[in-house]
């Protein structure tokens, strides 16, 4: 039976890009549909009525939403190059760190860079602490790993769920810092994390599934300007 895979995404969304990376690692053919955030398309509201957000995957007509749920779905549905290891304990650890990134790192980083001035200092402290914890988890691994073959090197240090989930940290944070004129993540403070960023971005499947830097930077610069204008 011909398989139909469609992805509703947003060019600049790290959550959307996570799903694309996972699909590409598995070699899954899919149709990409860019969603217009300002006028949420009728299709998006139909397929994700609960959150009304991208990414949404449509597999043979059946919708699935939430990027981390999707990463596991993709792993379980298509064979080869898994992003989660087979051992239950290691899977639990991967899920823990992916959740940590989404529920703690990303909100703190976002607030530290874009939040109200009164919140920024506290958010900055939290973001720094969270990044230090991530560095500690990395230890001397090249990647967070746990995957089975997507990194190009094979073995235990292939791209895993946590590497994919941390794409925001590897790519978006640097761009936003430039747009906003702040610095949280830098090589001196986080040498281990930077080594990981270099390693991750050297993987073609990651690099080829990121939004163009200049376009992303221009977007964030205009956001910063709009925020200033509205004050």
């Amino acid at each position: 039976m011909a398989e139909e895979v469609k992805l509703f995404g947003l060019w600049g969304s790290p959550f959307s890009r996570r799903v694309e990376i996972a699909l590409k690692i598995k070699g899954v053919k899919y149709e990409y549909i860019e969603d217009d955030l300002q006028n949420k398309s009728a299709l998006l509201l139909k397929y994700n009525p609960v959150h009304k957000k991208v990414p949404v995957l449509l597999h043979n007509g059946k919708p699935i939403a939430e990027s981390l749920v999707l990463l596991e779905y993709i792993d379980e549905t298509w064979e080869g190059n898994p992003n989660l290891p087979p051992d239950p304990y290691e899977r639990a650890q991967a899920r823990f760190w992916a959740k940590f990134i989404d529920e703690k790192c990303l909100p703190a980083l976002w607030k530290a860079l874009f939040g109200e001035e009164s919140e920024q200092e506290k958010a900055m402290e939290e973001a720094l602490q969270n990044l230090k914890m991530l560095e500690k988890e990395l230890k001397d691994k090249r990647l967070f790993g746990g995957g089975g073959g997507g990194g190009g090197g094979g073995g235990e240090e292939s791209i895993g769920l946590v590497d994919i989930a941390a794409n925001f940290i590897a790519y978006w944070v640097g761009i936003i810092q430039e747009a906003v004129g702040a610095e949280i993540l830098n090589r001196e403070r986080f040498p281990v994390l930077y080594k990981w960023i270099d390693e991750l971005l050297s993987c073609s499947v990651i690099r080829e599934n990121l939004p163009p830097r200049d376009k992303m930077l221009a977007y964030f610069i205009s956001r910063v300007q709009a925020a200033k204008a509205s004050k």
């Binding site: 981390l68 779905y73 239950p88 304990y89 899920r95 823990f96 940590f100």
Partner: protein
């Protein structure tokens, strides 16, 4: 082979209840350790240094944190008995989506109903009830979220049932009136031994909330 299983928990925590239910469903023997959140044990701080929160499952000395992660872990390790997650990837994704929804939406708004007043409480109540209605929609006419069998989403949601009396009393509404299907579902789940022995009585949770309000100086 002897498995050593320890659960660090707090009796009133809905997240802890999820794990208790999961362990009971699988018939796993474990040691329960009640934590004092005002004075966290060295074991808790060692086993969950990142969040310093309960529940933490310690299996043969190795810690697993985050309640939904723990439930999935239990399902994967003790896979032969009463599986929580279905085998079809789409159904699994569906179950994970709804458990994730509960985590993101129910706990925080529910807590605000207990601990705030006036406009903030009204907004929380609106949020909370909207989410419960979405859950009711998902339940539909099925006996459980898992279909005919008690499953992952049931484990994720049912602990909040023990808070229903506290929610409706603090928020001045009737759960039975607003979400009759969920109330019926909750009662059905309580007929299961694993749920009955893991969930505190609704009155006990209400008393706990009153004490919490007093301690925090809220009317």
């Amino acid at each position: 082979m002897g498995d050593k299983v320890v659960l660090l928990d707090v009796w009133a925590s809905p997240f802890g209840m999820r794990v208790r239910i999961a362990l009971a469903e699988k018939g796993i023997k474990y040691e329960y350790k009640e934590e004092d959140l005002g004075k966290k044990s060295p074991l808790l701080l060692e086993m969950n240094p990142v969040h310093k929160k309960i529940p933490v499952l310690i299996h043969n000395g190795k810690p697993i944190c985050e309640s939904l992660s723990i439930v999935q872990y239990i399902d994967e390790v003790w896979r032969d008995k009463s599986p929580f997650l279905p085998s079809d990837p789409y159904q699994i994704a569906h179950a994970r989506f709804w458990a994730d929804f509960v985590d993101k939406k129910i706990y925080d708004s529910g807590r605000k109903i207990w601990l705030t007043k006036g406009q903030e409480q009204e907004a929380a109540k609106k949020d909370f009830l909207e989410c419960l209605k979405l859950l009711e929609g998902e339940l539909g006419d099925k006996p459980y979220f898992g279909g005919d069998c008690f499953g992952y989403v049931d484990v994720a949601v049912v602990p909040f049932y023990s808070g229903f009396y506290a929610y409706e009393t603090c928020g001045n509404f009737s759960m039975e009136k607003e979400c009759p299907k969920l109330v019926a579902w909750g009662k059905r789940c309580l007929q299961k031994e694993s749920v009955a022995k893991s969930l505190p009585d609704q009155q006990k949770i209400y008393d706990f909330v009153l004490q919490l309000k007093k301690r925090l100086g809220i009317e």
